[in-house]
Amino acid sequence: MTTEHLFDLQKVAKRFVKGKDSITIFDNLDLSINKGDFVAIMGPSGSGKTTLLNLLGGVDQPTEGEISFDGQRIDKLSENLLAKWRANNVGYIFQFYNLMPMLNAARNVELPLLLTNLSSSERKQSVATALELVGLADRAKHMPSELSGGQQQRVAIARAVVSDPKLLLCDEPTGDLDRATADEILKMLQLLNREFGKTIIMVTHDPSAAKYANRTLHLDKGKFVDRELAA
C-alpha cells in the first residue's frame, strides 16, 4: 500500500446467506484505487458491481478481507463510526437521484451539512456554491418534482460534493437519463475529477459513460476480467 492509494482491498470476500445456501459474490478480491482516479466499474447484472460499490462506500461490510481507505481500515468500523466516516469522506450519486421530495433543491443539498459543525450562514454559503457549480443557482427554491431528470441529478451531484468529500461514488448515474443529458452529467463528473481532484468510482452498464473515466474495471462473476486493470 502506498500513500497514492485511496483504497486498498486485500483478499476481500463477500458472501450472503439465503436460506440454507451461501452465495459468494466475491472471493479473494484485491484492488487498489489511486487518489484522483476516475474509475468505471462495468459488468453484467449480478457480477457484483453494486456490492463492490457498497463495500467501498461503507454501507456494507466484507465477510472476509481488509478494506483500507487513505490508510485507515474501514472494514471493522462499527455502524456508528461508519456513518461518520461516510459523512466525512463520501458523496453519493444514485441512479434515481434519491432527493427528498418534501425539500426544495437547496434543502436537499444542505442535508449532508447537517452532519457538520457549520453554522447556518456557512451552510447557506456552501449550498449556494454547490448549486452554482452544477449550474442550478436559479433553481434553489424548486421542489424536485418541478425539476427535470437531468436537473434532479445535478442537484444530487451538488448534494454529493457540498461537504467536499474526497470520494464520489456513483451508481449508474446516467441510467435514467437521455444521451445528451447523460453526457452533461458525465462531463460534470469529469470536471469534478480533473479540476477538483475528486476520486470518482462509477458503476455503469454504459460503455459511452465508461469512456469518461480514466480507468475501467470489468467485473464478471465476482472477478475482475482484466487483472492488469485491477492492479
Binding site: 457498497n54 462506500g57 454501507v59 456494507d60 455502524e79 456508528n80 456513518a83 461518520k84 466516516w85 461516510r86 459523512a87 466525512n88 453519493y92 444514485f94 434515481f96 434519491n98 427528498m100 421530495p101 418534501m102 425539500l103 434543502r107 444542505e110 442535508l111 449532508p112 447537517l114 452532519l115 451552510r123 448534494r159
Partner: protein, 385 residues
Amino acid sequence: MNDFYLIYKNLTRKKLRLTLTVFSIFIAFTIFGAVSALKGSLDSGIEMSADNRLVTVNKINFTVSIPYAYVNKIRAMEGVKDVTHANWFGGYYQEPAVQIVSMAVDPTTYFDVYNELVVPDEQMQRWQSNQTGMLVGARLAKVYGWKVGDRVPISSNIFSQKTGGQTWDFTVDGIFDAEDAKVDTGYMVFHYKYFRETNSYGGDNVGWLVLTTTSSDLNEQVAKSIDEAFANSSAETETSTEKAFNKAFLEQIGNIGLIIFGVVFMAFFTILVVVGNTMVLAIRERTNEIAVLKTLGFTSARIFKMVLIESLLLAFIGGLLGLGAAKLIVAAMSDQLARFLPNIAVGTDVIIQALLYMALLGLITGIAPAINALRLNIVTAFSRG
C-alpha cells in the same frame, strides 16, 4: 435547516392524512377533557366532605323524612359537636325546567356545621331575623344575577302552600361563599320554620340531619350510638360519614369512574390503532428516504429519535387542540351546568394527566416505526426499492 425542520416537513408532507390523524386524536382528547371535568365535578362533593361531618337519614331511604325531635336527642349525645337539619324543597325558578337546588334549614345551626361557608355578619343577622329571607350561594347568585335585597319567587315541584299555590316568595338577605373554590355554592337555603308553617303537609319532620363530631376518631362510635338510639322506632336511622353518603349518592347514577374509564379507554384504543397504523405506513413509505439519510451519514440513533419525535409531535398537536377544545366547551357550558355540576372545569390534574397520555400515545405509536427505521439496512432497503 435542522432535524426539527426535517421532522416538520415529514409530518406535513401529506396534509389530508395529517388532518385526519390529528382530528382523531383531537376527538379523543376532547372527550377525555370533558368527561374528566364531569367526573371532577361529581367527585368534588366527596373530596370536599369534612372528616368529622356525619349525615343521618331515614333507614328506609334518604327521601323519607325523620322526626324533628331527633335533632335535640342527637345534640345531647356524647361526641356530638353541632347538629343541623335540612329538607329538600325541590325548587325551581319561573320554569319547572329551571331547577334550583334549595333547602329549608335551621338558620341558627346550619352554618356552624358547614363552617367552610362564609357569610358577612350583617347579612347573616338580617337573614336570621327575617323568616322569608334566603341565603344564596355565590355561584347560584351569579348565574341568575341575584343581589341582596332582590325578591325572588321560588316554586316547588314537591310541596304546596296551605293557602294554595306552589310558589314561595323570598328576599335575598345575603350571599354565602367559600374560600376554597371547590366548595359548592350553587344552591340556596331558607328558614325551616317558614317552610314548616306554610307547607300544606309534612308535619314536624326534617329531611335529614347533618352533625359534626368533636373528633373524626369518634365518627364510628357516634354513628353507631345514633342508629342504636333509634333502632326499633317508627323512623330508624342510618348514619354515615358525609364522604360515604355523597359517594353512595353518586353511585346511584352508576359507577361514574368505570363509565368514564370505559369511554376514555374506547376512544384511546381506537386512536391508538388509527395513529399507530398511520405512523407505520408513513415510515414504510419512506424506507428509501431513510436509507438515503443513513447513506449520507445520519446515524440510526438520530433517525430513531426523529421518527419518535414526529410521532410525539402528532400526539401533542392533536392532544393539545383536543384539550383546548374541551376547556373551551366546559368553560362555555359551566354556567348552564352550574346548577347540577358545581365547579365543572378542566383542572390542572386533568391537564397533567392528558399530557402524560399524549406522551404515552406518541411513544406507543412511534416506537415500532422508530425501531423499524433504526434497524433498516441500507443495502436491503435499496434492493427493495
